[in-house]
Symmetry: C2
Subunit: 269 residues, 2 copies
């Protein structure tokens, strides 16, 4: 422990109080600030609202939020039926995210994004009149109304889907039978002003596509580098069309068993 | 609006109150529950603690949490110096995540994950004695102590890095000079019981690698399918080794300009 302590002290001394040096060394202090930012004023950019509701899948809203928040002047706001202090819990109950604005406080939005959820959460959102009303009203003014995973079913319940859409791989039959749309097995499907993404992690690919629509390819590509999105998973097992029935069943069992009830006292409903 | 309303009503009638049918149609109700889950008891699985601190990058902890929470019996706990109700804000100030336990309440952990942050957040964490003490103590008992992005610099400040590690691409020089380790430009680098991941989105690849270590390839591959991680970004721009100086500078500028100060009243310090 003494050895570690000594090393640590030495290492911290290298940083010392010289935050400017450390900042340059970390690499983030290098580029010159653009005019607006240097003046303490941000150029107005896209207003992005992300809907949270109990039982959402954590990565569905947070992946896109990470990417879209990097666009020049962008504001990303987490919205829910009621805003904090009571946060919105994920389907596993493990993580709680704060909604900074209620649906009534959302204001005019350029992009709305609806995440997916476990079964209970998705069905509750599809049957929630306040959420459906919000989506229909917001869609009148958005440039793009978007979803990740089973979020497309919530868009469907709001009557907003067009002829083609995507969703979580296990929900494709439901999507087609309930809403009469053609399921397209792509990472994201653009149909008019509606853009739907496939399951969970597909929100990252959607977000880069949206970034290009909002700000052009050059900035979108820089945003991809900003989040070092050069994916190399250790397996090539994420495509349902290539999965065995055994892997599909195991994947669904992992989901079902991890989707615990929302802990008492954390429910928003 | 009437047309939409009618469609929506019809569509919701298809779901109706038949949640069981809807659940089966959504695909998640199909597999039989495993014994432990059916009995309302979860098989004890890996205990995973994810450190939050002000200014963290949103995807760094949430990507891995999404994947790891799907492992059988896993518990994923968001930890911070102080637990909620005051949440921990991201570097952009846009999103706040609740820490359900303080560092003192963390208990014995199988895996600790340290996310990265913007400059200010990273430096503050590297200089925070409570965080460094927690990491050193937790590391005595973990199976793997891990990081995403500049989280490896925090592990370095705690004296926990070995000979090889990775970090955010723009921080590689700092990593090498401050901690005397060799930067390896891979998505994740496993050195002893320390596993470091590259920037932001690399946490997803790390999480699947960890999933395989914790539960074997079969479950890890099913977890990959569960989150439909079959990445196809619209651009191939996320690898710093292949980026032009212009793209690198723009990426760093996007980060710098998006890293707003934590809004007043939201600071934890």
């Amino acid at each position: 422990m003494t050895h570690t302590q000594t090393n640590s002290t030495t290492r911290r001394a290298t940083l010392g109080g010289a935050a400017a040096v450390a900042a340059a060394a970390l690499g983030v202090g290098l580029p010159a600030k653009a005019g607006a930012a240097a003046a303490g004023r941000r150029t107005p950019g896209p207003r992005i609202g992300i809907l949270l509701y109990d039982g959402f899948s954590l990565l569905d809203p947070t992946g896109p939020a990470e990417v879209l928040s990097r666009l020049p002047g962008a504001t990303v706001t987490m919205l829910a039926e009621r805003r904090g202090p009571v946060p919105v819990r994920t389907d596993t109950g493990d993580v709680a995210v704060v909604a900074d604005r209620s649906l009534a406080e959302a204001g005019r939005l350029d992009v709305v994004l609806v995440p997916g959820a476990g079964n209970d959460g998705t069905i509750a959102a599809m049957e929630n009149p306040a959420i459906l009303r919000f989506l229909r009203q917001a869609h009148r003014h958005t440039r793009w109304t978007t979803s990740v995973c089973t979020g497309s079913l919530v868009l469907g319940a709001a009557g907003l889907l067009g002829e083609r859409a995507t969703t979580y791989w296990a929900s494709k039959d439901y999507l087609e039978s309930a809403f009469g749309v053609t399921y397209v097995p792509e990472r994201y499907v653009h149909d008019g002003r509606i853009i739907t993404a496939a399951g969970v992690s597909a929100g990252l690919d959607l977000a880069l596509y949206l970034a290009a629509l909002l700000t052009g390819d050059t900035i979108a590509q820089a945003a991809q580098l900003a989040v070092e999105y050069d994916p190399h998973p250790p397996f090539d097992a994420g495509n349902a069309a290539e999965a065995t029935p055994e892997r599909k069943e195991l994947a669904l069992r992992l989901l079902e068993e991890s989707q615990r009830r929302v802990p008492p006292g954390h429910s928003r409903s």
